[in-house]
Structures are given as structure tokens and as C-alpha cells.
Amino acid sequence: MMLIECPWCGPRNETEYGYGGEAHVAYPADPSALNDNEWAKFLFYRKNPKGLFAERWVHSAGCRRWFNAVRDTVTYEFKAVYKPGEPQPIKTTNAPAQGGTK
């Protein structure tokens, strides 16, 4: 069992959460201008770093809110959690783009 800190509810069991994949994948500014290759890259291609990784999680059995987390993919340790729109407390290779903190 692992405790994950929800930004709204505090520490809860990991069974209450759902995983949402890589965080800060920006929606294309003009989707219709993308070719199939670029669209596929946006939809399906995700980073898979060894080490710190910014991810989206949802507290599905609690407050049902999405939030971001920085997790170490080697040790599974959660280094930080932050609400959508908040600045990233620990820098990762997949940091939010300048001006946009989705």
C-alpha cells in the first residue's frame, strides 16, 4: 500500500486513485493544421523517462479531481503534488510549456 497526497483531501490509499499518464501535454494550437504524423505524436507518443516524471492523477474514489504529481519512476516515490494551473514545484524533463500550465 502506498499513500498518495491529494492536494485537496490529503494522504489517501493509492487504491482511491487513477493514473492519467504524462502531464503537461499541450493541446495543439491549431489541430486542423497537423498532418497525421503530428496528430499521432500528440495523441499517442509519451515520454518514458527513468527518474522524475510529471504525471496526471485523479482522486477517483475521493473528491474526483485531477491533479499533477512529480513521481520518481525508479523508486515510485511521489516527490510533489500540485493542482492544475499551479507552478511545478520540482522541475522535470516534461515541464509545462512557457505561459501554459495545463
Binding site: 483531501c9 489517501r12 487504491t15 482511491e16 474514489a61 475521493g62 473528491c63 474526483r64 479531481r65
Partner: protein, 205 residues
């Protein structure tokens, strides 16, 4: 247009645990390891959505008669009267006794502001687990910390009990209210009865 017939249909209602009424009574354990179960049926439940700090939030607080809770675990009002449970930062549940006329005033209070007032009365039933062993029964399947230092009387959280998503509301030191959705009520009650049965016999040292 057909004439509207207003008939009191309350006599025709069946609560989600009506078929287990005698089992709930028989499953009760008395004594110092006691724990009992009862259904509080047909409570008025109203879902509220409003962003804290907005005009809608203030209007709903005024209409409900209690300030909407602002953080996880908080419950405004009283368990016997009108209570408002915190479900999320902008998501609340009003629980009031059967027949409360709260929906109309809340809908009027919201008006055209962004937000939501929905009658959810039949969505969840209320199962009250009480007695010295109540916490021990719930801890068999609830991953949240139910120790009094983390979960005091007068708080409520959204969590799971076994596999069932529930609202867990501690109204008194040894009294918990479990609010599963109506379709999960039968399973939840049987799960609790099963969990209670061990306390009927003496503890094994």
C-alpha cells in the same frame, strides 16, 4: 391537458434496505464489543456545485441556512437537522430529514448564476453503524485513517468500503453513517453484517 392528480405516494415507496430490515435487527451485537446497524431511509439529499467565493456559493449558503464547508472532512450544520457535506472544493451534498422543503429555496437562490442544484434524494441511502466495535468493522475494508485523531466526530469523507464507493460520515464518537449508492446498499449492508458477526463471540486471545 390531463388534469394533474396530486397523490401522496410515500406509502408506496420501498427503501433500498427494506428487504433486509429483520436481518439488520438480528445482526446487532450487544455488550462491550457491540455494534448495530440501521437504515435511515428517505433522507432529503441535494447536490450543490458552486465555486467558493462566487455569488452562487454565498447565495446557496444563505438558502441552506448553514455556511457551506470549505475543506475536506468538514460538515456544516447538524446531523439531526440539515447538514452539508464537503465532497470536493466546489462540490457539496446537503443531507436533511425526510420531507425537507429545501430544494425550491436552493434552486431559487442559485438563479442564473453558474452552479448546480440537483435533487439526489434517491441516489444514496444512509446506513448507520454504531457501537464500540463500529470503527473496527469499518476498518476491515476502508483504506482511510479512521482513528479519532485523524477522523473526528462531525467529519465526513468520500472513500471506499470494500469495493463500494461511499460517503463515510462520523456523527458521534462511536456512530458512523455510511452512504452507498442505492444499488450498492444491499451489498454494503450484507458486507457490514458479515463484518459484525465476529464481535458476537468472545475474542480469541
Amino acid at each position: 391537458m390531463a388534469e394533474q392528480v396530486l397523490t401522496d405516494i410515500s406509502a408506496l415507496r420501498t427503501s433500498p434496505l427494506a428487504h433486509l430490515a429483520s436481518a439488520l435487527v438480528q445482526g446487532a451485537v450487544s455488550g462491550e464489543r457491540g455494534v448495530g446497524l440501521r437504515e435511515i431511509a428517505f433522507t432529503t439529499q441535494i447536490g450543490l456545485r458552486a465555486e467558493p467565493g462566487s455569488a452562487a456559493h454565498a447565495a446557496l449558503s444563505a438558502a441552506a441556512g448553514v455556511q457551506l464547508p470549505s475543506a475536506v472532512g468538514q460538515v456544516s450544520g447538524s446531523a439531526d437537522g440539515t447538514a452539508v457535506l464537503w465532497l470536493g472544493p466546489d462540490d457539496f451534498l446537503v443531507v436533511a430529514p425526510e420531507g425537507s422543503e429545501l430544494l425550491g429555496p436552493l434552486v431559487d437562490a442559485l438563479g442564473d448564476e453558474p452552479g448546480q442544484v440537483v435533487d439526489l434524494s434517491a441516489n444514496r441511502t444512509v446506513i448507520e453503524v454504531s457501537g464500540p466495535s463500529a470503527r473496527a468493522v469499518l476498518e476491515k475494508g476502508c483504506p482511510a485513517d479512521l482513528h479519532p485523531r485523524a477522523f473526528a466526530a462531525g467529519t465526513a469523507i468520500t472513500t471506499v468500503l470494500g469495493p463500494v464507493p461511499v460517503l463515510l460520515w462520523k456523527t458521534e464518537a462511536e456512530t458512523f453513517r455510511v452512504l452507498p449508492r442505492a444499488s450498492f446498499a444491499d451489498y454494503t449492508a450484507r458486507w457490514l453484517l458479515d463484518g459484525m458477526s465476529e464481535f458476537a463471540s468472545d475474542p480469541v486471545d
